[in-house]
């Protein structure tokens, strides 16, 4: 992993950061880092501390509405299941965020539902969590592809309209279901977007997989090339898609 004889100090620091972030690297004997076995044990403890702190913070920031009605999602990080997760997580990876997001919804979903929108709310918070807890990036390709944490999902309840009521802890009883498609994304600068999109935009997002040119995406979704081009540009701007072109 690290050849301390030929690399710069800055590169070595990157190797240390990667070692702390990736539990799978810490399973084997110290891979080329100038760490004694005693200091490697200490580094392992520090890495677990960092990961537990990171996911506690991201869960609290993302599962902001459900605590009005149930346990706070961040209490998950103090459970034995989370201890097991710490043994093989890669801090900031999309896979780790997916796993913690799933654990959080599984933790909260069995609780008595405070309303028919409960499952949708947890999915909304889970997808928001993916944005706050993912620092992993995907390599831009010539043609647009989804960012590591970008997700598009149909909801039975119009969450953006419902959230102000949920914030008070007393949602209006007379509100009816209303289907919406929401796209969750995060820019490289860390700005998070949750935007309501139409069927066409959702179709373009789902079709953009790095293998198709904009014209091929237009053919795949049966939409005008000009509209698809504009949509792709907008999706790149909000961090939902990445491209090198």
């Amino acid at each position: 992993m690290a050849d301390t004889r030929s690399q710069s100090d800055r590169d070595l620091q990157d190797a240390v950061i990667t070692y702390l972030a990736d539990a799978t690297l810490r399973r084997a004997p110290v891979p080329g880092l100038p760490l004694s076995s005693e200091q490697a044990r200490r580094a392992g403890r520090f890495a677990r501390f960092l990961a537990r702190r990171y996911y506690r913070d991201r869960l609290a920031r993302s599962f902001r509405y459900s605590p009005r009605f149930a346990a706070a999602a961040e209490t998950l990080v103090d459970t034995p299941a989370f201890d097991a997760f710490l043994d093989d997580c890669v801090l900031g990876s999309a896979a780790a965020a997916e796993r913690v997001g799933d654990m959080a919804t599984a933790f909260l979903e069995p609780l008595p539902a405070p309303g028919p929108w409960w499952s949708d709310l947890l999915q909304y918070e889970r997808l928001f969590f993916l944005q706050t807890a993912t620092t992993e990036t995907v390599s831009p390709a010539e043609f647009p592809r989804p960012a590591a944490s970008a997700r598009c999902r149909q909801f039975s309840w119009n969450l953006p309209a419902l959230l102000p009521e949920l914030k008070t802890g007393q949602p209006a009883a007379g509100r009816l279901p209303q289907e919406v498609i929401l796209l969750f994304s995060r820019t490289p600068q860390g700005r998070i977007y949750v935007v309501e999109v139409d069927d066409s935009t959702a179709a373009v997002f789902r079709a953009a997989d790095a293998r198709l040119s904009p014209r091929q995406v237009a053919e795949a979704v049966s939409l005008p090339a000009e509209l698809v081009q504009r949509t792709l540009v907008a999706l790149v701007r909000i961090g939902a898609l990445v491209t090198s072109s």
């Binding site: 301390t4 403890r45 520090f46 801090l91 990036t137």
Partner: protein
């Protein structure tokens, strides 16, 4: 925009938006506020906070081990334009990989080497020029050590401050932890630190962490040991202007914040 108090130490705290009303009602108990995050768009109390307190920029502006992007420099300028504090703070830390793919998202010190000293010095000057204000740098503790350092933390800080003319923001819980985990007394650990460059002190508490199997920084009141250390440093820091209770967390209560500031004020006989 209120100015920092003159003729005595300014005793302050970090701005916690959920405690804004308590801060506004606290009279003259809190002299200044440090800003760890920009004011939120839904923070209705911030205009009154800005009118009432001198504000210190203490956000994450970027890691000075690497050149700051134009975006980061513009953001730092923008925040300093809002706060107009007498100095701007950053940290001796390196927590992101160069490609941005991995981050520790928390305080983590650089390797204390000539290369890092050169990197921090060059990038700090760029940041200081961009914000057009004095820059103070905060010490960061390590929990483990690589067999690689070319100098001590104290030498790294002293040479950096000499090269750049920056000030030192001495975080005393960080010092206490660094000393604790290296098996030394905090005053002994500080023996070679450039205390003559200290502009601001941070005080706070520590508590036991189960992963570390030892103490770590906590948003709790400063212990008497930390306050005694603050007084000891103050006697050796002729440029000291401010002492800040370093805690910002949703769990922090107004009672703990105000009690901590009062304890700090009392320790300094103010």
């Amino acid at each position: 925009m209120p100015a920092m108090v003159q003729g005595r130490l300014s005793i302050g705290a970090f701005y916690n938006p959920h405690l804004a009303q308590a801060l506004l009602q606290a009279g003259s108990a809190v002299d200044h506020l440090s800003m760890a995050d920009p004011p939120g768009p839904d923070d209705a109390a911030f205009p009154a906070i800005r009118d009432r307190f001198p504000l210190l920029l203490h956000d994450y502006l970027g890691q000075l081990s690497d050149p700051l992007s134009e975006h980061a420099l513009a953001r730092a300028r923008h925040l300093q334009d809002i706060y107009r504090g007498p100095w701007v703070a950053e940290h001796f830390q390196c927590l992101h990989t160069q490609d941005g793919a991995r981050t520790l998202d928390y305080v983590f010190p650089p390797l204390y080497t000539e290369e890092f000293l050169s990197r921090f010095s060059a990038n700090a000057c760029v940041l200081r020029d961009a914000v057009d204000a004095p820059l103070v740098m905060e010490n960061i503790p390590g929990f483990f050590a690589l067999d690689y350092a070319q100098m001590t933390e104290a030498e790294f800080l002293r040479r950096f401050l000499d090269q750049t003319g920056c000030g030192l923001l001495l975080d005393l819980p960080h010092i206490w932890l660094a000393a604790h985990y290296s098996g030394r007394n905090a005053r002994e650990y500080l023996a070679d630190f450039p205390l003559d460059k200290v502009v601001e002190l941070h005080v706070a508490g520590v508590e036991q962490d189960r992963d570390l199997e030892g103490p770590w920084i906590a948003p709790t009141p400063p212990t008497q040991e930390i306050l005694d250390l603050a007084l000891w440093v103050a006697e050796r820091a002729p440029g000291l202007r401010a002492v800040t209770f370093d805690a910002f967390a949703p769990s922090l209560t107004a009672e703990v914040l105000l009690r901590s500031v009062e304890a700090t004020r009392s320790a300094f006989g103010l």
